[in-house]
Amino acid sequence: MPKDGIGASVKRKEDYRFITGQGAYTDDIDRPGQSYAVFVRSPHAHARIASVNTAAATAMPGVVKILTGADYAADGLGGLPCGWQVTGKDGPMVEPAHPPLVADCVRHVGDQVAVVIANSAAEARDAAEAVVVDYQPLPATASIETAMAAGAPQVHDEAPGNLCYDWEIGDKADVDAVFAGAHHVTRIELVNNRLVPNAIEPRAAIAEYDRATREYTLYTTSQNPHVIRLLMGAFVLQLPEHRLRVVAPDVGGGFGSKIFHYAEEAVLTWAAAKVARPIKWTAERSESFVTDAHGRDHVTIAELALDVDGKFLGLKVDTKANMGAYLSTFAPCVPTYLYATLLAGQYTTPKIWCGVQAVFTHTVPVDAYRGAGRPEATFVIERIVETAAREMGLDPAELRRRNFVPSDAFPYQTPVALVYDSGDYEGTLAAALAAADYDGFAARQAEAEARGKLRGIGLSAYIEACGIAPSAVAGSLGARAGLYECGEVRVHPTGSVTFFTGAHSHGQGHETTFAQIIAERLGVDIDAVEVVHGDTAKIPFGMGTYGSRSLAVGGSALSRALDKIETKAKRIAAHLMEASETDIEFSDGQFTVAGTDKSVGFGDVALTAYVPHNYPIEELEPGLDETAFYDPANFTFPAGCHVCEVEVDPETGRVEIVNFAASDDFGNVINPMIVEGQVHGGIVQGVGQALLEGCVYGEDGQLATGSYMDYTMPRADDVPSFAVSTRTTPCPHNPLGVKGCGEAGAIAAPAAVMNAVHHALGSRGVSRIDMPATPVRVWRALNAA
């Protein structure tokens, strides 16, 4: 095996440019003759636009053009599309128009009304302030509760009661019957708090139009440039793909928020042809807060029925989900197919029902954020399981063990549609408990008590469905796109390799991980491999990076393309060595003939493919360049157990994480260093949700947490270091045996932290505290108990 092959913690190939300041993020790019855009945005959550007066602004220095919602409407172009249709009990979801520039009615603070294009960003901003919009404010509704109340202000006329859909999975009567005979029923109510993704690179875009070739180019901060090209080209601006290039260069984090097709991308591309100059837009952070899709925002009531031995009999979950003011690209599937289908967790619960009502509010659209639906599901399951254990006087670890899907039961059909592929839940639980010294907790708790601190420990045994997704399954559930991935392996004449992938790396390290697979398979040096992503002009096609899919789906496409390369190369090698193809063996970059000492190197075969003087030209085309599209057979099911230990200062309510241990099963691991880094980052986003982050809207729809002054981003001193490890059950249905690791931390951590907090506070009579468990909330709960 080459030293930089599969399983090695290879230092990242991409790091050199980042640590020397030579990354090329969208805002780092300047195009000749570039102008700058600033958007005029609604300060109101809901208002009718009586008029927009741009006369004074147009006359200001440096202004190139100002375009309004009326201009956009006059061109007869499309609205921003939704990529997933959910069909509820009463038919398809309500899908209101989502104009990139609003002409008549604004529906959230930040909704875009006009765009000012000027010679400099400062001039554009000065002029944007001079655009006079006559708003007639209307009543607004910002929360699920108020939006569903009788007489609530309506976000869209076509959605009475602000209901987008009312959807369910499972047979409710069947589940009710189980509850009637239960020994014990645990009931919890919880809020899954609304979060702002906050990739540290703000969104940005540059659009340009070449009149000579009639080609449009859009540079954008995207996790999936081909998806943007498809959505914007086909549905919004009606531009054919061959004249629309979308480039997602270095991207500074995404976490889901850069999946979606945003208004600014379409408006800039549309406007670029009008001004015949490149236009750049870069969000300010305060603008990101009111325009990037938010995450989570559920209110849930859940009930778990158990028998006398603590076996789970049934689970009932009733969830209300906030969609925001419009349907963002994948919003409808998040609280349904990415949430309710995960409610079996790691357990054999035989009967499950879940009802989901999605509602519109006058807030920023809500869509997938790291984990997307699966953190919400894990939080419901792991909070209710932990609560049931405490209520029944059982060790929470033991109650989980009694209900785990046993490791010999795979493939395992859950009652909520999914078939789990492989796993060892006892194994990851045991490893996490050992790493956390679970058995020594009582002594640590007593020691903390002597110091006046309340100590608690909490578990979260999570499962996720990743490797999104089998296209036929996704299509039957309402997806309007396939969810395969594409990869092209181009072997160059001298044996070096370029891999073109439809996945997109914005921190995940694909340039290294994919190169390791190629180095392993072809026996080439890792430095002889280049991974190219993020440009529709270079890569045949792609569905992008989200849902921990890059390795499971994009890596599988790579593996299939390498199979094709190997097959063709073997035929060439057989010809060179005058042997039968079936006798050719390939390892460590050498083709050999079984039972002989004949061999030829991979580089010689590559050269022969491009210089085919001695070549089976009648049977085989020259060249060594293969493309594969891989559509997964199933989701993958990473799973594991995270254990969190906290200390609460009862005088101030401050929660400190004193220990955090994780054991995860991601299937086979290509680069352990990168995998651990993904887990660390995910854990802190989960800790952020549990203790620090919460998006707060006033009832008037004004965002109270619109900057880092009020929205608490986790910082280095908010968290400890973590003890993370992996245990492997390979994925049985993809060629690499991999499952995906990007979201695990964010999925597992909130429940682990909150179970620990509830454990710590339980001795003081506190039974419910919502996320984020901020000091003031903890203090209040302690005083109310």
Binding site: A122, D126, E129, S286, E651, T652, G653, R654, L692, V696, A704, T705, Y708, M709, D710, Y711, T712, M713, D718, T774, P775, V776, W779, R780
Partner: protein, 265 residues
């Protein structure tokens, strides 16, 4: 931000003259509050008068029992001054917990107190230690200097030149930070003079730094955390926001005061 005219002042008198000349001129010390405010377009001054080049405004002098800190002395300099650490360790500790390292590298004591943010740390130290603010025109007792939220006793064109701190017998500052902004939700500075008088100065809790006189009286009788048992601030007129209610702040004043007394040793 909106544009303005920039002036580098070369003396206090020059700065004062330039402020007087400007239509709506403002002074800039470290700029750690002014520049973020301008970036948010919350202010639109015609002129900015930069004090960075004015000689004689930086530096620390310890004489007898008095520490004098020049107005343009950065928080980092105060935090790392061995002289301050020897004379008034609590003052170095306050400076060492203002903002983040980059703010401390540029932010100054003069700029901080002239801004009088209700959640800033220095006002508590000045009031707690009974400091004197020296300006180009006069000396002002700290208790008279901080008048209300973002307001001070400074007149138009009056420039802080230094702050004089008498060394206490013992002092300590305890801050409970806002988890997002890291400004004080509540900060309590407790100091006891060699004469036995006690000051308890509170920042973050109300619209302006103030003294908890009932706590001072209790501590003058018995300088121990136990003397404050059961004591909180009155929640009337305390700040209320998404991070802390008035009741919580009132409670925290008691907790931080007790911890500060304990830290006095």
């Amino acid at each position: 931000m909106h544009n303005f005219t920039y002036h580098a002042a070369n003396s206090v008198a020059d700065a004062a003259a330039k402020v007087a000349d400007g239509e709506d001129a403002v002074l800039m010390a470290g700029g750690m509050t002014l520049l973020p405010t301008l970036k948010q377009r919350l202010a639109q001054p015609s002129d900015i008068i930069d004090l960075a080049g004015v000689a004689g405004l930086s530096g620390i002098r310890v004489e007898g029992g008095t520490v004098t800190v020049g107005a343009m002395t950065t928080h980092d300099t105060v935090a790392n001054s061995s002289e301050v650490a020897a004379a008034i360790p609590a003052l170095a500790a306050v400076a060492g917990h203002i903002g983040d390292p980059q703010v401390r590298n540029r932010g100054t004591i003069g700029g901080s107190i002239a801004n009088n943010d209700p959640a800033a740390d220095y006002p508590a130290a000045l009031v707690g230690l009974g400091a004197t603010v020296c300006t180009n025109r006069r000396e002002i007792a700290a208790g008279d200097f901080f008048t209300s939220m973002f307001e001070t006793a400074l007149d138009e064109g009056e420039i802080v030149t230094s702050v004089r701190f008498p060394a206490p017998e013992t002092a300590a500052y305890m801050k409970f930070p806002n988890p997002a902004s890291r400004y004080a939700i509540v900060g309590v500075f407790v100091a006891r003079t060699t004469g036995g008088s006690v000051r308890v100065a509170v920042t973050g809790a109300a619209g302006c730094v103030y003294r908890e006189t009932a706590m001072e009286t209790a501590l003058e009788g018995d300088f121990s955390p136990a003397a404050l048992d059961g004591m909180t601030a009155s929640a009337d007129d305390l700040n209320e926001d998404i991070h802390a209610s008035a009741e919580y702040r009132a409670h925290l004043v008691g907790v931080m005061a007790r911890r500060a007394v304990a830290a006095c040793g």
